[in-house]
């Protein structure tokens, strides 16, 4: 009788171990996926920008610098290597885009243009998607990190080398203060 009880207890512990290990693996994979998603959205932005510049060029004859900045920033971001450099380049690209949109506010003809509105919506959406992708990544990191610290999964995490992941954080203070821009209310 005692033998059976021992066997059952052992089975429960083993299955518990396996369950916790698998949960850790799943949560870590979600972090990987979340990180990859951010890249997907960043690449989308690269593809959309040439269209934006083309559409705006005809109307913004006196604002060539703003358009050129966007194009240059885009090229910089594409060529960037390493996480830090890329993050900086992406932030800079966001800034140039914000300047461009601020300028467009002063050109009602351009603002009302159907193509421009469509492209603008796409860009606003892409900026949001980048933000949301980062937010989602941070959510997955939080879930994973919490699990590596909680008892009893912290034991398994320690045994099998599940280390904490880093949150995605904005380096630029100005970026942090940026208010939400609403183009269509």
């Amino acid at each position: 009788m005692a033998g059976w009880i021992l066997l059952i207890v052992l089975a429960v512990i083993v299955f518990g171990f396996i369950g916790i290990y698998n949960t850790l693996v799943t949560l870590r994979k979600r972090c990987d996926n979340g990180w990859a998603q951010i890249d997907v959205q960043l690449k989308r932005r690269y593809d959309l920008i040439p269209n934006l510049v083309e559409t705006a060029k005809g109307y913004l004859k006196h604002e060539r610098e703003v358009l050129e900045n966007v194009t240059k920033a885009r090229q910089q971001a594409i060529n960037a290597s390493g996480v830090k450099e890329q993050a900086q380049a992406e932030n800079f690209l966001s800034q140039t885009l914000r300047s461009l949109f601020a300028v467009v506010e002063n050109y009602p003809d351009l603002k009302a243009n159907q193509n421009m509105m469509a492209v603008q919506e796409e860009l606003v959406s892409t900026e949001n998607k980048i933000s949301f992708a980062r937010q989602h990544y941070n959510d997955t990191v939080m879930a994973y990190n919490t699990r590596t610290e909680m008892f009893p999964s912290n034991i398994i995490a320690g045994m099998f080398g599940f280390s904490e992941r880093e949150f995605f954080e904005l380096e630029d203070e100005a970026q942090r203060q940026a208010p939400k821009v609403d183009f269509t209310s």
Partner: protein
């Protein structure tokens, strides 16, 4: 925000346990009274479960058809499509099917047993009124219903409440028409007080269960609001949208009692004041807005 979500989930489960307890108690008492008349109860419960399953799997199609909703693709309304797509990125779920309902009354709803089989719908009336952020708040609320498995949840509670109602009904009829008492050779259990207790419970249980069901529905609405805020990290968007909807008193033509709980605000009560209190499927809008702004 997180504490609100955790509290909501806990409250919902407490309410479900309460409903289950009532159901089990009722079944037990009536079973005792009848001796071994479990057959009727089993049939009633099976019936409730089957009808619930039909509603669960076919429900989305039914309600979308009833509402004269038309499915849209990205090119039909890029902004709406983008708004929903952004939310699916934030939540890490697949895209739902998106529908538009041609009605000037502002409302929206979601159906679907899980994110892989989800649909969201919105009226043209609401679409016109809202800014991008407000629209995103509303869509986040609807997607949260699916993510929180509220459709599944409402189904479970509905089955249990339906069973309670049916069992009570069955029992009450059998008592009044005199068919329930069978003498067993071993003698029946003490009848006097037991009958009264069983009768009282049979009358009160359905009312109690219904009130619980409405309480659960209200809890899940608060939860969907909190989850929406967690998705967008911008509760003000949803708060403003709710205020705009509250200001419009038009009644949604295609909604009815059966489908009212699926909508973001109660669609069949033209004046919010009437919809307050214990008998409403949705919490009062002022309270929802206050909680959102307090996050």
């Amino acid at each position: 925000m997180y504490s609100q979500i955790a509290e909501n989930k806990r409250n919902s489960w407490l309410l479900v346990i309460l409903v289950t307890t009532v159901l089990v108690l009722l079944g037990y008492l009536i079973g005792e009274y009848w001796g071994s008349r479990y057959g009727g109860i089993v049939i009633a419960v099976v019936f409730a479960v089957v009808s619930a399953l039909i509603a669960y799997y076919g429900g989305a199609g039914m309600i979308l058809g009833l509402s004269r909703a038309r499915r849209i693709e990205k090119r039909d309304n890029p902004q709406l499509f983008n708004v929903v797509e952004e939310l699916t990125i934030a939540a890490g779920v697949p895209m739902p099917a998106i529908y538009i309902i041609d009605d000037s009354a502002p409302n929206a709803f979601a159906t679907g047993r899980d994110p892989a089989h989800a649909s969201v719908a919105i009226t043209t009336g609401l679409l016109e009124k809202l800014s991008r952020d407000e629209l995103q708040g509303v869509m986040a609320h609807e997607l949260s219903h699916v993510q929180n498995r509220d459709i599944l949840f409402a189904m479970m509670v509905g089955v249990m409440v339906g069973s309670i109602v049916m069992i009570s009904d069955f029992f009450l009829r059998s008592v009044f028409w005199g068919g329930g008492r069978r003498r067993r050779s071993g003698g029946d259990k003490g009848s006097g007080p037991l009958i009264l207790v069983a009768l009282a419970l049979a009358i009160l249980a359905p009312i109690f269960a219904k009130l619980l069901q409405l309480a659960v529905s209200r809890q899940r609405e608060y939860l969907a609001d909190a989850s929406a805020a967690k998705l967008t990290r911008y509760p003000e968007g949803l708060a403003r949208a709710l205020e705009k909807i509250a200001g419009d008193r038009e009644v949604l033509e295609v909604a009815n009692r059966a489908t009212q709980h699926l909508y973001i605000v109660n669609p069949i009560k033209p004046f919010e004041k009437r919809a307050k209190g214990l008998f409403s499927t949705h919490p009062p809008i002022e309270e929802r807005v206050a909680r959102l702004r307090a996050m």
